[in-house]
Symmetry: D2
Subunit: 306 residues, 4 copies
C-alpha cells in the first residue's frame, strides 16, 4: 500500500513487453506524469518523439496471464498552460464525397488553460468562435497493458489490451479493469486530453501533459475478455475494433458476461435489463480501431449485486 | 393554426405515397393516436397487422420537394396500461461466436405502466430482476416522410426520409426537420416506446400505443439532406445506414452543413467546435439500417446564432 | 411455352407493385429491349428519365409469395453503337484521405461498339489509354422482382428481391432464381452494360441499350431467401447489403441452405466443401447496398446432385 | 546471387524485430521449409507451438525504411502426406441469426495428398462428400515483413506489412512487393495451404508443411503503402482491414498509385481503365483483418508500361 513517486525518463510509442520502469504491488499508489501526444512535457518542451508516447510500463508483482489488473485513476489533471488541437475533421468521419469540400490546410489551434477556474480558452486561430471557453474535462486517451502473444502494438490503436481508446469517460475517479496477458501485466499510460469531443473526430483532444495518480489492485485468477470499468454511476465495458458495429458487439458481449458470469444475473434477466436500460458511448472513431462503450447504471442492478 | 383531431382507421407498414388520411397546413396542431408495433391500440386489441403500423400519411399543404418539414412533438404519452418487450438481445449485437450461448427461446415480457406515477414495472416473466420498475421515457420509434423517387420503404428500416430510427431523444418537446421529397411531404408516425435502451438491442422498446400531439411548420425552399432535430439543450442530426460508421458519416456531415450553411459559422470554426464538443448517441442497431445521432449543445453556438 | 414480343413504352426507376406491362406464364419466352441507365434507347434517344429505368413489370401467372421465380437470360446484347461510362472512381471506394487527390471534374467517356467483332473502343476523352479496345461482355446491371411488404425500392439499390446488383456474372446463359414476394412476382430488368469492371467502381459499366430474350419458369412452394443463380460451370448465391461483410454473410448462408436443404448434403459435408472450394465475386461496391456473390463449381457436387 | 539453404530451428508467431535467423542480399535465393499452422513439420511432428509459426526473420542487407522488398516465390510445395482442415464455417461469415443452426462440434478433417498426381483426398470424417479429391493449389497463407513503429504483430492477422492474408493468389510464380519499415526488412513466412477456398471461411486451408524457395530483390528509395504483387497475367494490390469495404479501399488506392505514380498513366486514364477492367479477389474473411485484392490484367496496360 505504498505511495510511489515516479518521474519518467523514457517513453514508448507502443504497448508491449519492454523493460519495466517501476515494479509495484497490488494496493500501491503511483504519482507520476505523462507527456502529451507530441512528446511535450509540463514545460512544453519536446522530451521524446511524438506519437502518443507512454509512461511505463509498470510491472505489477505477481500479475499473471489469466488475472485482471485493476487501475483506479485518483487524479488526472493538466500540468501546463497550453494545449493544442487539430482543426480538421477526419476524412473517415464524413461522407466520402464531402471530403473535397472540407478545409485541406492543417492548422494547429492553441488553447490556454486556467487550471484554477478549470477552463480552456481558444487563443488561435481567429475564427467565428472567438475566444471560446470550455470547462476542463481531463481524460486519458491511451492506456492499457501489454497485449498477448508477445505482440507490441502501437499506441495509435487499441484492442482487448486497451490502448488508444480516446474515451471521455476515462476521467479521474474511474476504475478500469484489464485482462492480464503477460507476467507483471505491464501498465502503460499517456495521451492526456484537457477536453475532448466524442469520437476524437479531429484526431486530437486538447492535447496536454498530465499529472497522474493511480492505484492498482490485482484480481487473481479472474479472466475478462475486454476492458471493463466503473465509476460512481455506471459499470462500463469497452470494445475496440472496426467497424463500430464490431466494437459494439465486443462491448455488449462483455457486459452480458459481466452481468451473468460475475454478478450472477440469470440470462433472461440480463437480456431484459440491457434491452431497456443499456447505454452506449462512442469512444474514438479516428484510429485504426474504433471504440464503443457499453454502460449500465449501477442503480439498476438487483440490490444484492451492488 | 387549427387544432385537428384525427382518429386513424387505416395504417401502413411502409412509408410512401399512399392516399393522405388528412390534409393539414403549416401551423396546424394534430391530436391523434398510434398503435403499437404489433398493431394493438389503446384497448390492447389488434386493429391492424403488426410491423410498425403507421398513422398517416398527413398531407402538408404547399409542401414541395426541396422544402423542409418541421414537426414538433408536443405530446407523446402511452394510452394504455400494458406494454411488451422482447427478451433476447439480437444476434447481430453480440460477438458472432457468442450467439449459440444466448437464450434461444423467444419469450415476451410484459410491463405494467403507472401513467400517473410515470413508471413501468416488469410483471412477467419471473427473473432475477423481480418487479423491476423503470421511469417512463416515452419516445416515438418510427416516423418520417415519403421517400424520394416514388419509393415505398418499410417502416422496419430507415433512411434520409426518417423511418424506424428508434432513438431515445425523439421524445415530447423535440422538433424534427425532414427533407420533403414529394408534394405534401406525407408525414407518418408510429411505434411508440414507453421506455427503450440505446440501440433497441432486443428489437423492441416497451411497445405501447400512444396519444400524440404534434404541430407542423414548413420551411419553403430550404433543403436539408438528412433529418435534423432540436430540443431545449441540443441541435441534432441523424444518419441512417450500415455500418454504424456510415450512419455516423451522414450525421456528422449534416451537422457540418448546418453549422456552416445555415448558422453561418466559418469552416474552421465548425471543425474546431465539433472536434472538442460533438456528442454522439446511438439510435437503433437492430434494423436493416442503423441510426447514429450527432449532437451539439446550443449554448456552444456563437451568440448571434442561438 | 409461347414466344412473346414486347416493346416497352413505359419504364420505372423503382421495383414494386406497378401495373404489369405483360402477363406471361411459366415456360414463356419474352423478346424485348431495355434502355440504358440514362433512359436512352437503341437509337440513342432519351425516351424516359434516367436512373436505371426498368422494362416491366412482367406478371407471371400463378406466381405467389413463397414460390421461386426462375429467369433464364437467353440473350443479352447491345442494340446500338455508342456506350458511355463515368471516368472517376467513386469516393467510397478509395481511402478517405485520398479523395481530394483524385480528379474532381466529371467527364463522360464514349465507347464505340463493334457488334460483329464483339468489341468496345474508347473514343473519348483523349488519355494515355488511346483507343483502348475491350472485348464485349454484356451483362444486366439491374433486375429483380417486386419486394415484400408493399415496398417500392429504387432501381439504384438492391436487396433480397434483386435490383441493382451490377454483377458481371449476370450474362447471357445465366439462370437466376428470385424469391416471389407478391402475386405475379413482377419481374423488372434494365441497366445493360456492354462491359463492366468488378464493383462498378466508377458507378457505371459501358452503359448501353440491350436486346433481351429471357424465359421464365416457376417453382411452386419453393422458398428461397436471397437470389440464386447458375450457369454452365457454377451455382451462385447473391447477398446485397452494406458493409460487404454483411453481403458476404447473406450469400454464404444462402449457399449453405442450398447445399443442405435443397441438394441434401449433410451439414458437415457442406461446411467442408465450401471451406476449401468456395469462391467469391464482388458485384457492385458503388450503390447504397453492395453485392457479394458466393460460388461453387458444379463439378464439386456429389454426383447424385448434379 | 547466392543460393542459401536454411533449416529453421526457431519459429515466431508474430512478425517484428526479432533476431534474424539468416542475413541475405538482393539477388539471393533461399531454400527453406515452413511448418504448418499448428507447428507440425514435414514428419508431422509438432516442433513448435501452433498459431501460424513463421520461418525467419530473414535480414536483407541494406534494406532501409522507405525501400521496397521484392520476394519471388520460386517454389511452394507440400512436403508431407497429411493435411488438416477445420470443418465449421466461421460464425462471422454467416448471418448472425443462422449461427445456432450450424454444427457446433469442432472436428478436424484429414486429407491425404498425392504429391505426384497433385491431389488432396478427404479421408475423414465420413460425410456425403465421400473421398472428395481436389487438385493441389499450394499457397502461402502468412508472410510479410516487420511492421513499423517497433511493433510486433501476431501472425494471426495482417496489415500494411503483410501477415496472415490467406490469399489463393500467393502461389508459386508470384512476386510480392512489401514496404520496408525496419532495417533489413525482416522477412517472415509460414502457414502453407495445399488447397484453400476463397476467404478461408473455415479458418483453415488444408494446413500443411512446405518446401519453399524464394528469391529477394531490393528496390532502394522506392516507397509503397500496401503490399503489391504480380504474376504472369496480373498486377495485384492488397488491402488488409475490417470491414472488407476498407480493405477494398486500401487495395484500390494502392492500385491507382501504382498506375499513376509508377507506371505513369494519367489520372483520367487510370480511372477509366480500372472502372471497366478492375477485378477483385477476396483473401481471408476469417482473421481480425480481412483481405481484399485488387487486380488488373497486364495486357491492358499501355504497351510502353508492360
Amino acid at each position: 500500500m505504498a505511495i510511489r513517486h515516479f518521474q519518467p525518463n523514457i517513453y514508448y510509442t507502443a504497448l508491449g513487453s519492454y523493460e519495466p520502469v517501476l515494479r509495484i504491488s497490488g494496493g500501491d499508489t503511483v504519482i507520476t506524469t505523462t507527456v502529451d501526444n507530441a512528446g511535450r512535457d509540463a514545460s512544453d518542451q519536446e522530451v521524446t518523439p511524438g506519437g502518443n508516447p507512454q509512461t511505463g510500463p509498470f510491472y505489477v508483482e505477481s500479475a499473471e496471464p489469466g488475472d485482471t489488473l485493476v487501475v483506479r485513476f485518483d487524479k488526472l489533471w493538466p500540468n501546463r498552460r497550453i494545449g493544442r488541437t487539430s482543426t480538421i475533421i477526419a476524412s473517415n468521419v464524413v461522407e466520402p464525397y464531402y471530403v473535397p469540400e472540407m478545409p485541406q490546410e492543417h492548422i494547429t489551434a492553441e488553447w490556454e488553460l486556467d487550471l484554477e477556474k478549470g477552463t480552456a480558452t481558444l487563443i488561435k486561430p481567429e475564427t467565428d468562435l472567438g475566444r471560446l471557453t470550455l470547462p476542463l474535462a481531463p481524460m486519458l486517451g491511451c492506456f492499457g497493458v501489454a497485449p498477448p502473444r508477445g505482440q507490441i502494438i502501437s499506441s495509435g490503436t487499441s484492442a482487448a489490451h486497451g490502448g488508444n481508446m480516446d474515451y471521455k469517460g476515462f476521467a479521474a475517479g474511474v476504475t478500469v479493469y484489464f485482462p492480464v496477458f503477460v507476467p507483471g501485466a505491464l501498465l502503460f499510460m499517456g495521451d492526456g486530453h484537457a477536453v475532448q469531443g466524442d469520437g476524437e473526430i479531429v484526431g486530437t483532444g486538447i492535447e496536454i501533459s498530465f499529472d497522474v495518480q493511480f492505484t492498482v489492485q490485482l484480481l487473481k485468477d479472474k479472466k475478462i475478455n475486454w476492458p471493463r470499468a466503473e465509476n460512481d454511476e455506471y459499470i462500463l465495458t469497452v470494445g475496440n475494433a472496426r467497424p463500430l458495429d464490431q466494437a459494439l458487439q465486443h462491448a455488449t458481449t462483455e457486459m452480458i458476461r459481466w452481468l451473468q458470469d460475475d454478478l450472477g444475473l440469470d440470462a433472461r434477466a440480463a437480456h431484459i435489463l440491457l434491452g431497456q436500460c443499456v447505454e452506449y458511448d462512442v469512444g474514438n472513431v479516428f484510429d485504426p480501431a474504433y471504440t464503443m462503450v457499453c454502460k449500465l447504471k449501477k442503480e439498476l442492478l438487483p440490490k444484492r449485486m451492488k
